[in-house]
Structures are given as structure tokens and as C-alpha cells.
Symmetry: C2
Subunit: 548 residues, 2 copies
């Protein structure tokens, strides 16, 4: 097949998609709006732009001439936002360090990414001091503080960020370059092995940013619609997939932004009362904490839109939040996807439907964002029926997916097997292209040709009044392939037998929610359920006991 | 300066920005919504997608294998919309023919573009018949009709579109290819010379589409906000800069769309009453016609958003429309810019300000859309002051500007002189980055270092009760460079002298609206003002009388 191209004028500007053009627009709509950091600092977009240029001059003075990786280890702050622009716009790669990883994993990621400069919050200096002599590529360390005073440290840093910034000129001419230049990297952990580095180009971040604006601005869902006059307060760490991409969007549209620093519920509630955020995103536990906090009872939350991600959105929490007037929805994505893939979608004609409807619709994984080509493939590698019953793995194409794992060719090939990114998530889809994640593919229980969600079973068992916590895994079965096995922790002073639990589960069979094959064959009562370092159930450990 | 790149997995999908991905999404949000053509036809997005695939099969059957240019000459219709997708998605170039040009210009554009196939509405067959034997590249002709009956013609066409489409299979696997492949072309006319061909790539059209969604969905203006639940009815010809790009946007978001066919006010009003459009775009005269039509007086227009472009939006018309409840704004762009560059912007805090404020703000040229880098450069090639007084030429960069004129290297270089596209429009800018076009640069009057807008002067003279029409041009002056010259047509039975008119203009000097140098030195009373073929004042002809 042929295509046609036409020569351009010699000076025609093709317009590479660079983060530079996001920042450029921040001075157009309302540059007088402010970026706020706790109760410590506030400034407008003119000042923000100046500071980004000083940051770029600081990098230049340190001899950084592009193509280097520079790490940032901070709470959510105006400084972090500055690094989102100054580091990539000088042709360098921003490495956002997840300080919740173990020290060994953090050190691994610094060395694997070959960071040459480290910007670190004073609170994390003890961790970095423990790496002294073990980071061969790191040449310079700069310290972030809230009081502008450089603390004593054996690390011999360049200095304190504010003082260094103040010494730099306001002007910097950001260059144009190839839109496929890498802009960001960060590390994601599974339950096994070393963290893996994902990476994103300027082009990908720009397209994700305007994709977000399309999703929240033009898609026309009756839930969580946002625009540039909203006030943005992230409640997830900025190291986590570019703060879900929203800081780029908020900056582009010169939205008022509020950064909370170290997470302290009192500070968040204080900022809420003073600065009136209207749009946030967070994991369910943060929403739970804020909605149930005694000091939050007096707050008017009815103008607050919240996108929930990171783990499944519990219906009870959705209900409680909706009853407080919070406009909550689910967003879905992962470290490998920049991140946004889907959001809950409420049709205009459904916006006044009752609370039960809203809870159901807003806790679904949702419909694909513009440009996200999403398929759910069953074991025969065919798309599942749109009946919300048949399960398969979500595979995707989008303009903003990591093109592999850094220096991990085998894992990269597995991620992109067949030309689609494999999410490892198992889902159903209804006739409206609205998906509902059931489980991780490694945790799904495959029994006699049927797929059973371990998460669904855990939720059912958790509803028994005697149960404190439950974990369900598939264990090998000669006849059925796998059968479900449940590990259960009872509440203090409660008693329950395996037989009583099986009896209890019959109601879900009767209601058509599970088949009789889903009732766990073996049930084990334990004092605690194995967990990973980030507090998730470690199903690999539970399964290990049954492997030969 | 260095940048960093990282190898991709061998199967990683980079995701070229192709029109294909716009159509793909049309089946996600609400594919049951309908595309309506007059009172003749209506179908949903499943059917639309099928028809686009049949169209592609039809091209294949005719031996078209990509890289060819295919012309369409039709009123606004579902068929036209189908061609927007089927032609570029098969690697071909869609040539949208402006049937308002003179036959000679149309023939020139067909030959210059090297069209190989021509899709033509039966109404335009007489024009095409007059080209018989004069179109060496055109191999096939297909006729669009509303009654599915092929009319008699000496052109020996392939057949009638519906019949041909019905013979084709529903399946077609649209290929992926380079996003820089040219997708569309069309011809634009100045007052001199042959029409010039502009051209747009798949990447440019995709970026323009999501740029529109950003502009109308996320920018947060209190005027004319739209989303996918709006009902779209274009009132400008689809040959004119891709119907301002909206048909791509509307299709992507599976919006209900209404196509009016041949422009007949009665049909438009009928469709208005039956189909309830909520968003349209048109030139001022069309809005005038619809708002003042006797049959429109009974219509409720209060849910209608209208973007006005193509020529300056008269304040009296804006006022009349706003009084009817129409949410009107100005949009600015040109054939060379895909087209959208700016739109009027009403800040949230200004949305309840009075009618005079709204008229003023909504008739301004507006603020740049996301990713539009717009500068106004004065005669010293420096940006003008943001005082809404200093004038200069608008120059732009954006991801969606034509990269030249087809086979016109010299004109291409002039368009892109210095790496910015020169619009030829003269404007001021206020402190909010809100611009207001004053004139075309070739019509601005440069006198003693000052720039005077001929359009402003014409508007002032037009306000005199004796004046039917006025044209003002700059004529050479040994001392001042240029001085204004006015050509005036009086109303039937009215009398006015040059001295009386100069006296009348003193009030505008007193009000600070013009300087005393702006008062026309020479005033000429005529029976008619020279016009171009499209009805614009032909200032070149007026000036010619003063050139030696």
C-alpha cells in the first residue's frame, strides 16, 4: 500500500510534542492563579515559570548537558512539580523515586537507572546516607527542606535547593528536540524479583495530558467532569506514575494547585478548609481516612470530585462518600500505562438514578479513555462476550504505554507479546464497553474450564460476621486443574468451622453470583495472612505450601 | 545537547496518530446515537462504520491502492462524512472541492491536485460535464444523489454511490502507516493568482481533533462549553477546512450529528425543531438569516451554542443572538491552520456580567487554543505590548498548520518565513492574552509610523445614516507613506459631502477611537464598490487607480 507525502517549506515548524509546550500554555489562561505548598508557600505561574528556568540553569551549572537521569525523592511539593518540567525540558530524564520501597530496592533503582544527581528531602537523608559509597553514578546531591536550612550530613551535598535556586538567573531558552526523547522513568515492583524500570517519552506525556483533558473535559460523563477552573489537590504521591498525570494537566491549564507535603490528615483538612480543592485523586484508604476523620464531619464536601485508583474501590466506601456529596469515580491504570486507561462513566440519562445505581456504576473499572484500544481476551485468545460474565485478560494499545522495561529485554517482550500490552488484569465487559476487573491473572482460579475471581470469593467470605480477613488462592487439583483454597483469620473471640462457612456460601450460589465449583474445597484457619512489603496479601506464599 | 532514548520491545506498539483511531473510538461511548441527513436518512454508528468499510472496498475494487488524491464535491451530508474517513484511512488523500469557486478555479484545483476519482453530487454534474476532456488525471466518476437514481450524463460514471456501496462487503482491515501521510487537501483563493493547495497529515488532524476537545471541553470558558452529549449540526460547508474540524470530533465521541444538505433555511429550521441541535458553527450571515427568519421566532434557541467564524462577528448580531438566548462566541482560524487557533474566552467570574460586556468579549478574536503558540509582531519584529492598542501581524506555531502550499515552493517559504506561519492578519492583544483582529495586513493603512485599521474606519463611516457602504484603502503619500482614502456608496435619495463626512468623524477622534491622521484625506462617492467573486470588497482594484 502506498501513502502520499508532500515536502514542507524549509522553515515550516513540524511542532514536536514536548513538555515545553505544556509549560508554555501555563502562562495563557490565568497565570495569576496560585500553586500552594502546605501553609508554607504560595506563588503564581509567572513565578513558577521563573523557578523552572532557574532550576534548568542550576542543572547547567552542575555540568548536566542532557541525556542524564536525575532522581527526585520528595513528598508532594511545589519543588517536585518544578522538577517535572525543568528536568525533562533540559533533555534529561526525571527519575521519581518511590520512597516506600525498601532501602535495598531504592538503592537498586538508583544504580539501575544510573542517576547522576539526586534531589532529596531532608527527611529521607538517613536512607540516602546509608547508601554512601554504594551509588557509583551519583555525582551530586541537593537537599530539599521546608525551612531553607541545610541539615548536617556526611553526604557532602551541593547545597540546599532554595539557596541554590536563588543564585541562578531567571532566563533559560529551553531547546527543541526529538519528541521521542525519554522524559521520565520510575520503578515498579511485583511480588518477586527486582523492581523494573518503566519509561515515558515527551510525546507520550503530552498525549497523555491532552488525553486526560479529553477524558475529564469532553467525554460527557455525568460524573467527575472537570475543567481549568477546578482547584487541584493530589492525594497520591507524585512519584507514583507522574501523580496519575494530573500535575501536567493542571499546570498546562494554569489551574490552582495545592500540594500537601508529608501526608498528615490534619494538614490535608486544613488545606481543604482554606484552599477549597474541587478535584483530587487517591487510593481508597486515603478517602476512607478523610471522610471518616472527626474533623472532616464539619467540612462541606459537596463540591469535591475524587478519582479513586490503585486498588478496587469498595462499595461501602463509595456509598459513604456519595452520601457526603462527594462526586467519586474509579480510574484504572498501572505503572506501565502512564497511567490512565479507563474511568467510570455515568451517562447523562443516568445521572439522577438512585444511590445503589451510582455505587455500582462508579465502582466499575469503567470505559476506555479516548485513544485507548482495550480488548479483553479469553484463554482461546478471542475477545470475550460483552455479557459482563465471560472473563479474560485486559490487553491494550494507547499512545502513552511504556515501550518496555529498562534493560530487561525478556520482560519487555513478555509485556508486549503479540503487539498489545498485557496488563495482567482479568476483567469482564458489559454491552456498553464498561469493564469490571475481577482479579489479577496470576490469582484467578482456573477450575474445570471456568475462571473464578479470588477477589470476589474473598469479598463474600469477608462478609461473614466472624471473619476478620480472608485470602483465596487456586491450588493444584489433578482432576479440575485448580480448586479454590481459603485462608481465614477470625475476629477476636469468634468461632467458625469449615462446614459452617461452606453452608454460608450457598446463598451466593443460590443468587447466581458464583457456581458451586467456586466454594473452596479446603479451608484453613490461621492467625495471620502473609503480606508483601506494601501490605498486599502475598498469595505466592500461600500457594507455595501446596506446590511440590 | 544530548537526549536519551531507550530501545523498545520488538512488538511494542508506538501508536501512530491516524484518523483510524478517531473512527475506532466512535464505537465506544454511545454507538447507538444517530447521524441524520435532512429528512432523508438516519443511521447509528455501527451502520456508519460498516458504510465506511464498504466505501474502502469500493476504492479497492476501483484499483486505488493508496497515495492517490480523490475529490469530493457535495453539500454537507452523511456521504461526505463517510469520505472523511474512508479516503484517508485507505492511505489516500481527500480533496474537498469548494464548489463556490468559479468553474475555471475548480478545474484548476482538480488538475493541480491530480485527482484520480471524483465523487460528485448530481446537482454539480453540469459543471463537471463542462470539464469533459480537460481532466487528464481523473479516471473514475461516482455520483451522489438523494434519490439513489443515476441521472443521465455524458461523463460515463462508475455508477451511483448507494448502489455501488451496496455491492461491497462490510469488512475491511484498515492498515497502519506513517502518521505523516497526507490525509486531506483543499484550495484557498486570494484576490490574485490561482488557488493554492494546503495539505494536512493524519497526525495533524488527530492532534487538531483532540485540541478541539481540549478547547471546548477543558478550557473552562463560561461560554460555549461542549461535550459528547451535545448534538452537532454544522452550518458551514464541509469543504471548508474540514468543517472546521468538528466532524472528526463529533464522530470520535459518537455525538448525534445532523447534516443539512443543500442550504435551505426552511430545512434547517425543520431539522432544528425535530432533532434539537445544541452546537453549530457558521459565518455571521447564516446566523443572521436563521435568527431573523420569521419561522425561527417560535423556536427555543436557549440551548444552542454557536461558534462564529469566517469573517468578523458584528456586535449587533451578537447582541441579537444573545438576547434570543443563543450562546455565541467567535472562533478564529484560516485555511492554512486546520483551522482553529483562538476562541472567545469568558472567565467564570465574568459569566454573569451584563449584555454589553458579553457582546464585547464574545466578538473578540479570543485566546489561543492549547498548543497554539501565537505571537503578534510589530514592524520591528518585536512582540506588541499587551495594551490592546499596539498592532502587529499574528504569527503562529501549532501542531496542525499546513507545512506549505502544494507545488508552490516560493509561496510556501513566504508563508513560513522565520519559522512561524504568517497569518496576514493584524491584531492587538490585551493583558489576558485575548486578541482582537483589526484588519488584513495588506489592507492596514500605514501612515506616519501609525497603523490604522481600514475595517474600523469602514465601520465608523457605515454608521452615518446616509451611507449604504464604505471601503477604505491606503493610498501612497509622499510625506506620510500612506493616507486613508474612502470610497462611499450613498443610500438611495441621500446626500452627503466629503466635508460633512469628515466633520461626522470628529466624534470618533474626540472619543479616542482614532487619531486625527485616520480621517480620510480623499473621499470618493461611487455608485458601487468593486467586489471579488466571493463578494468581498476588492481593495486591490480600488488601490489600483492610485498606483503609477
Amino acid at each position: 500500500m502506498k501513502i502520499k507525502k508532500i515536502p514542507s517549506a524549509s522553515n515550516a515548524w513540524k511542532y514536536p510534542l514536548l513538555i515545553k509546550s505544556i509549560l508554555h500554555y501555563s502562562l495563557i489562561l490565568d497565570p495569576d492563579r496560585e500553586i500552594v505548598y502546605r501553609d508554607k508557600r504560595r506563588y503564581n505561574y509567572f513565578e513558577f515559570n521563573k523557578r523552572v528556568r532557574r532550576f534548568a540553569n542550576l542543572l547547567k551549572k552542575m555540568g548536566i548537558d542532557g541525556g542524564e537521569t536525575i532522581a527526585v525523592m520528595d513528598y508532594d511539593s511545589h519543588r517536585y512539580l518544578e522538577s517535572y518540567f525543568a528536568i525533562p525540558m533540559t533533555g534529561n530524564v526525571l527519575h521519581t523515586i518511590n520512597w516506600r520501597l525498601s532501602p535495598a530496592q531504592i538503592l537498586y533503582s538508583i544504580n539501575h537507572a544510573e542517576d547522576v544527581v539526586l534531589f532529596v528531602n531532608a527527611d529521607f537523608l538517613p536512607i540516602v546516607e546509608s547508601f554512601d559509597g554504594l551509588m557509583p553514578t551519583v555525582k551530586k546531591i541537593i537537599v530539599f527542606t521546608d525551612n531553607d536550612i541545610l541539615p548536617a550530613t556526611k553526604l557532602n551535598p551541593e547545597g540546599e535547593y532554595e539557596a541554590l535556586l536563588n543564585g541562578e538567573p531567571d532566563e533559560y531558552d529551553f531547546p527543541d528536540f526529538d519528541e521521542d526523547a525519554i522524559a521520565t522513568t520510575f520503578y515498579t515492583t511485583g511480588t518477586t524479583g527486582d523492581p523494573k524500570g518503566v519509561f515515558y517519552s515527551h510525546r507520550q506525556i503530552v498525549l497523555h495530558t491532552i488525553g486526560l483533558a479529553n477524558t475529564f473535559g469532553f467525554m460527557g460523563s455525568a460524573a467527575c467532569r472537570a475543567n481549568s477552573s477546578d482547584v487541584y489537590m493530589p492525594l497520591t504521591p507524585l512519584f507514583h506514575v507522574h501523580g496519575w498525570g494530573f500535575p501536567f494537566l493542571a499546570t498546562m491549564y494554569s489551574m490552582k494547585q495545592i500540594y500537601i507535603g508529608k501526608f498528615e490528615p490534619e494538614m490535608v483538612l486544613k488545606l481543604f478548609a482554606l484552599e477549597h480543592p474541587t478535584v483530587s485523586h487517591c487510593v481508597p484508604t486515603i478517602l476512607q481516612m478523610l471522610v471518616s476523620h472527626p474533623a472532616a464531619q464539619a467540612l462541606n464536601l459537596s463540591k469535591w470530585k475524587v478519582i479513586i485508583g490503585g486498588s478496587a474501590f469498595p462499595k461501602a466506601l463509595a456509598k459513604a462518600a456519595l452520601q457526603r456529596g462527594v462526586d467519586v469515580i474509579t480510574g484504572y491504570g498501572m505503572s506501565e500505562t502512564c497511567p490512565v486507561l479507563t474511568t467510570s462513566y455515568i451517562r447523562q440519562e443516568d445521572k439522577n438514578k438512585d444511590l445503589d445505581f451510582q455505587v455500582e456504576a462508579r465502582t466499575r473499572t469503567g470505559v476506555p479513555s479516548p485513544f485507548v484500544e482495550l480488548k479483553i481476551m479469553n484463554e482461546e485468545n478471542l475477545p470475550v462476550k460483552k455479557n459482563d460474565e465471560e472473563m479474560g485478560e485486559i490487553v491494550v494499545r494507547a499512545p502513552w504505554l511504556t515501550q518496555g522495561y529498562y534493560k530487561e529485554p525478556e520482560k519487555s517482550e513478555a509485556l508486549w507479546k503479540g503487539g498489545f500490552l498485557h496488563t495482567g488484569d482479568v476483567s469482564t465487559m458489559n454491552k456498553n464497553n464498561d469493564i469490571k476487573i475481577a482479579d489479577r491473572i496470576k490469582d484467578i482460579i482456573k477450575t474445570g474450564g471456568e475462571w473464578i475471581s479470588s477477589v470476589d470469593l474473598e469479598n463474600m467470605i469477608d462478609q461473614h460476621p466472624a471473619v476478620a480477613e480472608a485470602a483465596v488462592v487456586g491450588i493444584p487439583d489433578a482432576k479440575w486443574g485448580e480448586r479454590p483454597h481459603a485462608m481465614i483469620v477470625l475476629k477476636q473471640g469468634q468461632d467458625l468451622s469449615a462446614g459452617q462457612l461452606k453452608e454460608y456460601l450457598l446463598q451466593f450460589i443460590a443468587a447466581g453470583k458464583i457456581s458451586k465449583w467456586a466454594v473452596p474445597q479446603s479451608i484453613e484457619f490461621a492467625l495471620a495472612i502473609p503480606k508483601t512489603s506494601v501490605g498486599k496479601i502475598d498469595k505466592k506464599v500461600i500457594r507455595a505450601a501446596f506446590m511440590l
